[in-house]
Symmetry: C2
Subunit: 196 residues, 2 copies
Amino acid sequence: MSATVLYMSMSLDGYVAGPNERLDNGLGDNGMRLHDWFFADKDEFGKLSGVNGTVAAEAMATGAVFTGRRTFELGGGWGGDHHDGVPIYVFTRSEPDRTAEKKWPLVTYVTDVATAVAEAKRAAGGKNVMVHGIGTARLALAAGVLDELEIHLVPVLLGQGRRLFPERDAAHIELERTRTIEGEAGITHLHYRVRH
Amino acid sequence: MSATVLYMSMSLDGYVAGPNERLDNGLGDNGMRLHDWFFADKDEFGKLSGVNGTVAAEAMATGAVFTGRRTFELGGGWGGDHHDGVPIYVFTRSEPDRTAEKKWPLVTYVTDVATAVAEAKRAAGGKNVMVHGIGTARLALAAGVLDELEIHLVPVLLGQGRRLFPERDAAHIELERTRTIEGEAGITHLHYRVRH
């Protein structure tokens, strides 16, 4: 069964980016600290080694990407191919961008979250769907279509920045812990399934 | 070597209490969800069993308590004995309460965080010092005298409430992960040492 999964590096105090995010400061001030582990210890082929490498590879083994328009456009549409030629579903509230769709055959704009996720799952061919972007993840969580969370917990307190979980309504969302892995560099990989 | 340790149940989205905390609603709305694990599965002697029981017992094996005046007074001073007759150091900004000190021989009021921690460590006789209360923990962290964190990570997203780590200055505090344990009920016990 295909699942939608959010893969996210988060500090112990809940931040996924430093303060003062801008187009030319995409991770926020010192936000790179959260991603050090991902860029460290690459082998001669540029592949991340060790336990961290194994866990990181799971994200790249997904069969489709579900993202929001902002994340997609800020990333230059990943040149039309996020990884390995898998289809990309872009959620947009406004009129879909048919230019991007025509230019990039892997890209489909969708105006409804549940439909986007359903189409992405179908297109993933049994593999999981990568949920890309914090806003997208929140939309999916609120719509009840985010299935799993893989949190790469980074051993640092940032103090400020962008939170993965800002304040929302007070309804509890129960999770099922499905895996805990101690990675290198103090990274703890926590996997949860959302109880729908 | 004696270490100051904060033991705290926290939801994956960073909350240690639900919203609307009041004197008669001490854990906030539905905040008990964070402590379910602690009150479940007690044996015939009222002792928590399993892995969760082993980890919880560590807090009760501390040799002294360091707390803030508010936590201390809200808890009725624990009748002058938090656990096993260990000394209690109460941080207060205002004039110390000599009445409580006279009534309860284990209780000492201290007006300086660093001094309180130093005295508590000395009094702990080689055991660790329990840091009691979120405000106290933050003071100790800011003063550079919080040594370790034991986070009991609860598999739930509360959405609202009191955060363990509200926004502060942007100085990174680096941690060293020293232990990860999968407990019952989806609780993950994360132990960190603060890199001073």
